[in-house]
Amino acid sequence: MQKLKEFVTDFGLPRIIIFFFLIGLFVAAPFVGVRIDTSISDVLNRFGQNAILVLALVPMVQSGCGLNFGLPVGIIAGLLGGTLAMQLGLSGWLGFAGALAISMPFAILMGWLYGQLLNRVKGDEMTIAMYVGFSMVTFFSILWLLLPYSNPTMVWGYAGQGLRTTITLDNYWGQILNNFLSVRIGESFFIPTGMILFVLLCALIVYLFFRSKTGTAMTAVGSNPDFARAGGVSVDKMRTISVIVSTMLGAIGILVYQQSYGFIQLYQGPLYMAFPAVAALLIGGASVNKASMVNVLVGTLLFQGILTMTPSVINSVLKTDMSEVLRIVLSNGMILYALTRKTKVSK
């Protein structure tokens, strides 16, 4: 009993409720005419789409920079990579690899600048990150209109200039990871094996990174900066590295997301993308200053599971689409819960 209680306080009541809610949804699904196999395929697909964006938050949480509401900075780097690879006419595996390769220098540069900024505003990172993200998205909205892209699938037909709001990846690298080694059973069951393997690979790399010397130093900076400084670790340097890694992962994350989704979304599209990622990480059990790979994977699965299941199940039960409300309340409620919890700064 005592152990159970400890487990509940440790894991957090909201998470347990969400977990059982999701189980309940899956149990209820067949009774209201929702196919389980389709649901599972959807959940797996959305898990793969979003997991790396969630993973991108981990380095900054670990280094003490808080929840990276400035995720759009990395997303912008990814968008630059994707659009430039298309402009160069790269397609297929070459296209996807090219997009990743091109986005990395941008991600490193932007991440470095963003890290420099965050080092000067310690203690206020989250609000500032949010507005840095918003500024970047709106600033790049101007660039999407002005940059001299010319690939006809990308630019507005009538003006011959300025990128479209959504660009299809059909003849480039749409679904390329999803279809790699994919398993299809019957009409409605599909496992995007390639994408999931890629996600696990990224998670493994980040996991190993945090086992490395730099990684442990980074965690030390996050849990006790003064102690780390006394131990001869440069706090600012570690924080900068964490921001760069986070931005790079953000760029990779959006590229994986887009190849699965099949479209590149520009302009205001990435404006609020950080919030669902943050919510997923927190649902997985992370706090404002501590996050692990398990948090990422479990959180993404739970959050995306609920997002997939609620519309279909709730709609067939209540005959009305309450899922939107549920999504907003759930994801923001989770972030609020994390922000208002008394967190032990050092552990």
């Binding site: 000067r120 505003v121 918003f134 909205s141 409300v325 999504r327 309340v329 922000l339 919890r341």
Partner: protein
Amino acid sequence: MIKKTSIRRFFADNVVVIIFLVLTAAATPVSGLSAGYIVQEILTRIGRNSFLVFSLILPVMAGMGLNFGMVLGAMAGEIGLIFAVDWNIIGVPGLIFANLVGLPIAIFLGWLCGEVLNRARGREMVTGFILGFFMDGIYQFVVLYLMGSVIPMRSAAITLSRGYGIRNTLNLDSVRQSLDDLLMVKLFGINLPIATYLIIILLCVFIIWFRKTKLGQDMRAIGQDQIVSNASGIPVARTRVIAIIISTILAMVGQIIFLQNMGNMATYNAHRQTGFFAVAAILVGGASVTKATIPNVFIGVVLLHLMYIVMPRAGAQLFGSAQIGEYFRDAFSYGAIALALVLHAWRKMRGVEIDRAGLRQGVASAAPLEAIEPIKEDTL
């Protein structure tokens, strides 16, 4: 030498205002809009927006930063307006009715917001921002699902055809510009909504008076140092909650004034940008996270809205696309908020580091410079 540093200091303190001044000064002639049109627009928008911006002052005074939770008040005002329209209460009484309906809701939401922010000390702003999103979900639940099913609504004209939920756009014909038109004076061909201005002036008087009350003094003390205030017997948590409650109520009234001028209401979107606009305005007006004055509000509303008026036209003239102008002004507004927050956090951190290095002594200097400054505000 002293003069040089004071000029630099002035520049550093007002860099956001200066950037916006330069920007709008450059864009205004390019836009090709007539001076008469611009002046009329600005005067209308002062009446429309400044009340909302004023709702931010008290939490800043109490050291809680910019109250992004003000959107909760805006939602309360919108619920009040929905009932005023539903019961078909016309004109100024309709607005008063909306305020009266919104008041208990705003007090409750303000209390809630205050309690939540008290649990998130040190990160009030981001928490308030997320709380706004969270409440947006609750608001949507109430207005889209409960109104007409659980909460009785009278008018079929404002409910969705399925029988419950409020339509996406609410027509405010019954109260449209009733406050503005109450005392409209035409001067040199320019319409001045005097009644609205009077209410805003009244609010300014209230704020000046409030600063001098015991409660106002307490808030300022808390804004400077919570620990010292607590030691001297000020109920810190309670006073902070009261600051947020008043801010939420003011935001509610502000949103009703804003919407009566607009004449219709996007039921589910009207409040989404309220916080952003108010915060951008007060920061563009030269306020910071720890210091906000009445002139900041007016300067900010004028500058921000001047940019919102001229930028699309300037973009159309320069790039042949009004869209670019719109992205420009959005980017600059977000950028202005980011810059103001960064500058403030930077100075605060520098202050802390200097303290740590032991270069400064005494309790007073432990606080960042601008935290001490609000004492001078009364002279403004």
